[in-house]
């Protein structure tokens, strides 16, 4: 009668233990990976804008690019319409970045 309870407890304890062991092993794996493959590309910050752009570009996905393009084009059109060009607003550059 109590059989399923005991089986259940047994299953629970083993499962929990194995899960902790597995994640414990993964901790070891991660430390090992960090030790074996240290990051060599200690990036010297602020070297040049282009280099940063080139490095980061693969991270930006296509959609983001498209949205950016839409945003920029729309933004420029609106600004243009409002006569904001002929750059009287010195913040325009920042705004568009």
């Amino acid at each position: 009668m109590e059989n399923t309870l005991i089986t259940g407890l047994y299953v629970s304890v083993i499962s929990m233990a194995v899960t902790f062991i597995a994640l414990g092993i993964l901790i070891g794996v991660m430390y090992a990976l960090l030790a074996i493959f240290p990051d060599k590309s200690k990036q010297v910050a602020g070297e040049s804008d282009e280099s940063v752009a080139m490095i980061e570009e693969p991270e930006v996905d296509e959609k983001a690019n498209q949205e950016l393009a839409v945003a920029m084009a729309v933004g420029m059109a609106l600004l243009e319409h409002q006569g904001a060009f002929d750059a009287k607003d010195p913040n325009l550059g920042k705004l568009l970045e």
Binding site: T7, V11, L26, I27, L34, K40, P58
Partner: protein
């Protein structure tokens, strides 16, 4: 003949039992929650929709040649859809924050406490008169505590396919309630001092090689420890490998994009299609829903309590709140940790650590689900 076939026009309304009507109402509620409350809409809308279709009489839509039946056979019966979704999830997951603080991985194990405690609770309930759950059913309910839709669906379908609808609905509904369920538990279990602990941001950079090797090693380790977890962890890590490899971006974007989107839609519809009134509307379903909620609470309990243990052992360097992110529910749980931390100390930035615990929770959910399944299949 004429009168007969005229009557056939009224056959459908006449076949609309109260169970079907209630299920249609439940489907409407799920769609309402999806649209008006933004509760995991990409899953709850298709599930609710499928539930409505499955309970409109005489349509044959869930039969083996019907629309939902075809989708079910194509990707739920063989567990293809949850695995394909996992490829997409892996492609969207950044394990960087976890690799910067490897010890956070333990929180991902602790955050699965709800699985086992809920499982035990169901076995206790089974001892009550009028309530009966098999060991496999109890395990399927417990797995809601993985707080991970694809894992719950994968394991549930292997152990108790007739409960798939209830399990999926519980998993995805409560997932949306995480911002409501977790904070009270987190506050109740922690002291003010604990909640204010600041954790410095590790400046460690992770090399590309380490990032690429990590998913492969995880697959091998986890598969050897728990072969039944292999398909789950393998698909999750395949997505991550494609992300970190950098040379297969068109596969990666296909996994994140078309594969994930199309599969999510089909999976939701097919699971909704399993929620037939006559089978769904039973006391057992109510118990599943109630215990599923409890599993979420018990998971948070497990995570935060383990966080407190780490706080002690580290001499106060670990903020126990980040334990709550160990349940998975990526990335919501991590954001809740950040928000709650800031509530007590505006300049406290726990987000990166919470993200680490959160991705550990994702790993922990899959591993726990797979281990649980491996042992259960050895017993049942």
């Amino acid at each position: 003949m004429n009168i007969d076939s005229l009557l056939s026009l009224f056959a459908a309304p006449l076949a609309l039992t109260w169970q079907k009507a209630v299920m249609i109402a439940i489907g409407l509620v799920l769609i309402y929650l999806a649209i008006a409350k933004d509760y995991e809409p990409v899953l709850l809308l298709p599930i609710g929709f499928g539930a409505i279709l499955a309970n409109l009489p005489l349509t044959g839509i869930t039969e083996s040649h019907g629309f939902l039946g075809v989708l079910f056979e194509a990707g739920v019966a063989n567990e293809l859809f949850p695995l394909l979704i996992f490829i997409g999830i892996g492609a969207m997951t950044d394990f960087g924050p976890l690799m910067e603080n490897p010890q956070l991985a333990l929180l991902g194990a602790a955050g699965q406490f709800g699985i086992y405690s809920t499982f035990m609770l169901v076995l206790l309930l089974d001892k009550l008169p009028f309530i009966s759950f098999s060991l496999a059913e109890a395990a399927s309910i417990g797995i809601i505590g993985a707080i991970d839709g694809p894992t719950a669906i994968y394991v549930g379908n292997k152990l108790a396919p007739h409960m798939l609808g209830a399990i999926a609905v519980a998993a995805y509904s409560y997932m949306s309630l995480v911002p409501i369920i977790q904070p009270p538990v987190m506050r109740a279990l922690t002291s003010d001092t604990e909640r204010r602990v600041r954790m410095p941001y590790s400046q460690r950079e992770i090399s590309k090689t380490a990032r690429v090797v990590f998913p492969i090693v995880v697959i091998i380790v986890v598969s050897l420890l728990s072969p039944q977890a292999s398909p789950l962890i393998a698909t999750l890590m395949l997505g991550n490998l494609m992300r970190e490899a950098g040379v297969v971006d068109r596969l990666r974007f296909a996994a994140e994009g078309e594969i994930a989107n199309v599969t999510t839609l089909f999976l939701g519809l097919a699971i909704g299609g399993t929620m037939k009134g006559e089978e769904f509307l039973q006391v057992e379903t109510l118990i599943v829903m109630a215990l599923g909620l409890l599993a979420f609470i018990l998971d948070t309990f497990g995570g935060v309590m383990f966080g407190k243990l780490m706080y002690r052992l580290s001499g106060g360097k670990v903020n126990p709140l980040i334990g709550a992110a160990g349940i998975s529910a990526f990335p919501m749980a991590a954001r809740i940790v950040q928000r709650l931390g800031q509530e007590y100390d505006y300049d406290n930035f726990l987000l990166m650590h919470a993200m680490g615990a959160n991705t550990a929770g994702q790993l922990g959910s899959v591993i726990a689900g797979g281990v649980f399944l491996t042992i259960m299949l050895g017993i049942v």
